[in-house]
Structure formats: C-alpha cells, structure tokens
Amino acid sequence: MKPLCILALGGLLTLPAQAENGVDLTMTSRLIGEFHQIRPDSPFAAGLARTGFGRDNGRFEEEVRGKLGSVSVLLTGSFSGQEGQNPKTRLVANEAFIDFGSGADRFTIGKKILSGDVGYAFRPIDVVQREARMQLIPKALEGIPNLMWEHYSGQQAWSLIIANPDRNRGPEPNKDGSLTLRYFNRIGVTDLHGVARYSSRYRLEAGAAFSSVPESSLEIHGSFLVQQRGERTVPIRLPANANPILLLARSADDPNIMISESLKNPAKALLGATWTTDNGWSVLAETWWDGTAPKPADWQNLVRQTQIRNAMLGMPGIPAEGVNGALALSTRMFQNPSSTRRGNLLRVSWTDPAGSGWSTALDVLQRPQGGGWIATLSAAWVADKLRIEGGYRRYGGSANSVYRLLPEHQVIFAGISLAF
C-alpha cells in the first residue's frame, strides 16, 4: 500500500503546468539504485552488520515542485529500501515558503533551502544549509525553517535570517536555532560574499568568499571561515596502559566509544578554479583546509583501537556483542563532514556543446598525509523529459590510509528520472 501512497501523491498533483487557479506544479519521478561492495579485509568487518556500509539500496521518489497560490513548495515522497532492512516510506516538505515584499526590502517565511558559498567539493561559509558534498545521486535538500529579511541596493544585498526559531539546539548543526547575517556585493568581475552566524553550538562563525571571472574561460574562487567553537567526532582517548575492556561497547549507542571533541577557533579555507573550453571540456581544481576534521593522530588512534578490538574477538570472557558493537560505533569517524584536514579535488568534465544531452565527468578527490583517494566516473544523458545517469566510485590509498580503512571498496550507481 505504501508505494501506492507515493504514486498517489504524484497522481493527485499531476496538474496542468499553468493552471488558472494559481497552481503551477511540475512533477519528477525518480528511481535510483546503489550497489555497494564491501572491502573484504576491512578491520571493521565484525561490526558492519550493524551499520549501513556495504548494503545495496534503492529508492523511488516522486517530487513535486512549484507554486500553490503564493506558497512555493518542494514535496518529496519516497519509498526506499536497503539490503537487509524493511522498506521505508517518507513524505517530506523539503520547501514550503512564502517570499513577499516589494522594492528594496523583501521577506521570507517558511521552510526554504538556504545554500551558500562558492566551492564545489567544500563550502566553508555554507553555514546555514550545511549541504553535504560529493554525494553520488543526492536526495533533494531539505530546507531550513526560517524568517528572513533581505535588503537590495544596487549590486549589493544583505539578509538577516532567523533559522529554526522554535529551538535552541537540534540533532544536526543545520537544525540548530541561529541568527545569520549574509552579505553580497558584486564588484566588476568579482562577487564578494560575507557571513556571520551565531548559534549555541558553534557560537560566532564569520567568513567571506569570492568568485571571479577574469577572462571568458576562467573562474577562480575562494572561501574562508573562522568559528569561535568547532567540533569533531573522534575515538575516545585512553592511556596506552588502559584496560582494553574499556574499548568494548556496553550498549548499541555507547557514548564512550566515539566522542564529540570541542575545538577552539578552528578555521576552514578553500581555493579553486574552473577552466572551460568552447568544445565542452571543463577542468575544476580545488584545494582546501578544514580545521574541524580529525587529525592524523586521531586516525592512528582509531587504527590502534580497532586492532585491539579485533584481537579480543573470540577471547574467553570477552562478549562478542561488545566488540562488534564497538567496531560498528567506531565507523562513525567516517561521518565527520571532512575525513582529514586537507583535501584536493580535480574534476574533468565534458558536456556535448552540440546539445545532444550527453555529459560525463571524472572526479578525483585526494587527501594528502595518508588520507587516500576517491575516484568517481559518471555519465548522464538528458532527453526531452528523461534523465539517465550512472557511474562508478572507487576508494583507495596506501595501507591504513583513511579511504583504505573505509569499509567500502566500490559503488556502482544509476538513476533514471522523468519530469512532467
């Protein structure tokens, strides 16, 4: 029945694109599959059954985008399944907001996507939306409940955003209550962006970014952020002579395996450039620093603890539950927004300039100082209403590098979408 509900959402809302009654909606049906292969020699192998690593998954989505009178909406109904788990049905209002006002002063009330910043792989000043980057075929972003006042003056603009006004701290940083001031100015061939945000989690965050097109083929960009407070997820620190029993999980969500570490005044920075040719080739290069990412010592600590846990497996008196649970919990290290502090991306892409609808890209993300690499090859074809895309991602690096520790080895992904 549940998948039928999703189809019904689409069916009910399949209205004429330009209806007389102020309803102007378009619909997109999307089917996506990801086929994950686990790394057979993963040191976390004993705990992986409790995680999502290595599980094939798929989802069917119906997306409705447009206007219902003065309300702008983006609604998504999804029916998703993951290998070994029961399918889930979810209806989400990704966006539901009203933009209003006239002249230089404009206002927004509701839930709206509020992305920011200028980079591709890393976005230091995207402090409101905090969009996850480098995903395979990402779901539609979920907007931020907000009240916003925007003021426009010539080529400048600033906005004052009260985000998540109903709460102080949420489960994720973008669900925290916050007050943000954003600034934009266009000076010749350069855009300048500024941001200052206050939240109880990070206190004050302030940064700036630029994007410039000095000549017809070249775009350069950069971004910088300083936080009064930051945090990252790292393994618990124990003295070398501590009892190894302390490394076992006592519950499925034992808070003593991975801890959230508070950081004072961390900084993030990005520099990048895009070069495009008239025959459809484009090269994007970016390099960045994320002071909130785990340090090499944190990864070495994880490796050491994982070795101890694996050594305890099967020992008399050691509960397998405790070892497996701890191995599963310790994979949360990979959920940090950046896995290491330095990152480099090279993306070479091609779009058929003749308009056949074909495009392809090769992304290589490299993490210096033993982080390893991720290579992603993808292709897409867009027809009249149809979009087909797919690709292959592989993780690699030297032994004990971050991406060799990642329990997955490779992923094949494919998606097909139809817009009405």
Binding site: D24, T28, G116
Partner: protein
C-alpha cells in the same frame, strides 16, 4: 612632407572609412529591430531540438530584457524547472534548483547545456558587435549585405559572426556563428512573420556545423513590454520565488 594630392587622398580614405563603419552600425541597429523592438521586454521562447527530422526535445524559456545589457532567463520546462540564468553585461550567474545559490559562470560555460541559453537570451547585435561590410551575396532570392562583425565585449556568445542582412529592408537573413577558437559552430537562419502588424523574426533556426543532422528552432512565442524592478537583476535575488511568477 605631403603634397596636396596625397592629403586629399588620405582625407577621402578617412571619410570613407568613417561612413563605412557608420553603415555597419546602422545596418545592425536596423536588423536588431526585427528581433527585439522594445527596450524592456518579456520574450517567451520555445526551443525545439531536432535530430534529423525527429523532434528530440522541447524547452520553454521566459527572458526578461532590460537596457544596459541585462537579461534574466527563467527556465520553464518541467525537466529544467527552478533553473534561472542572469546576464549583466559580460557577467553571468546560474541557479540550479538542487542547490539554490547563485553561481557565477564564465561566458564559455554559458554556451554549454541543452540549448545554449546565450542564443535565447541575446536578441541584439548592435551594442555588442562592430565590423565591416565585406561584400554582397545572394541568399536564396534575397540580395544581402555580407557583414563580418566581431564582438566588442568578452561576454558575447560568438566572438565573430558573418551576418547576411537584406539589402532591401535590412532584415536579418542568415548568420554564421564562430566560437572563440574561430571555428564555425552554427549557422542561423531567420524567418520573418507578421506580428501585430509588424514584420518580426518569428523563428531562428540554428544548424550545428559539426553535427549537421542536429537542428535547433528558436520560436519567439510572444514579445511584450515588461519592466522588472532593478532588484530582479541583482544576482542575490535569483533564489527568490517572485521570479517564478
């Protein structure tokens, strides 16, 4: 230094060169009048892409044009819903629905995509190009001036155009569009129709020079006087929903 004959000859050359340049500018302005006869306007456009004789895809755009080379393109097709492109002189921004942030793009990136939005958003030559008349040529039955014009700004979609303008009537007939590497990219043919009692270009047909079986028809569905306030042409405004109306 110079004798009188040489001085007269140089003066004649100067006068001739000046009037020649003026002729090109006048011809371009006259040709523009057949494409856009309003200062500030909304132009609704349908783009049909053909592979051979088969219709491959259709795209709809609303273009809001304002003086000082300002154009706002709102993508109306279901598959592109939520995309917008802003052109301010030589500067360009794109908003994709998946990200909802204005992204500065290069003039070269503007050329990529399903149907080049540069072809849809730009409706005049006179402010952007200058050049010379290189001769006269017959296109079908129409005797044309052959103009070799070069972009005067870095943001133009095609740095060089060979344009054929009817000798009688000054309407555009045909254009050869060259990209930055001076390669011929597309051929454009202009079809005129009667719109509210005026002769205007109703269809521009673009043929890809490399893939000759690929043809793009740009149909100008309507042109109406419309002046959006200046805020709409601020890149930060692109993510606001007022534009979608």
């Amino acid at each position: 230094m110079f004798n009188r004959k040489t001085a007269l000859f140089l003066a004649a050359l100067l006068v001739s060169a000046t009037s020649f340049a003026a002729d090109v500018k006048t011809l371009l302005k006259q040709a523009d009048e057949f494409r856009l006869n309003l200062e500030s306007a909304r132009v609704d456009t349908e783009v049909r892409v053909f592979k051979g004789e088969t219709l491959d895809k259709t795209r709809l755009y609303s273009v809001f044009i304002k003086p000082e080379r300002r154009s706002l393109v709102v993508f109306r097709s279901a598959v592109e819903r939520g995309q917008k492109m802003l052109m301010l002189g030589d500067d360009f921004w794109l908003v994709m629905p998946s990200s909802a942030r204005p992204l500065r793009i290069t003039p070269m990136q503007k050329l990529l995509g399903d149907a080049s939005t540069g072809d849809v958003a730009t409706l005049t030559w006179s402010g952007d190009y200058d050049g010379k008349i290189v001769g006269e040529e017959k296109v079908g039955d129409i005797v044309c001036y052959k103009l070799d014009i070069v972009g005067q700004r870095k943001g133009v979609s095609y740095p060089r155009i060979v344009l054929y303008v009817a000798k009688n009537g000054s309407f555009p007939v045909k254009a050869e569009l060259y990209v930055a590497s001076d390669k011929l990219a597309k051929m454009a043919e202009f079809k005129l129709g009667n719109v509210d009692g005026r002769k205007l270009v109703t269809t521009m047909t673009l043929t890809d020079h490399l893939q000759k079986d690929r043809r793009t028809e740009v149909h100008y569905l309507s042109r109406s006087a419309k002046t959006l306030s200046d805020e709409y042409y601020n890149p930060a405004f692109l993510v606001r929903a007022e534009i979608d109306n």
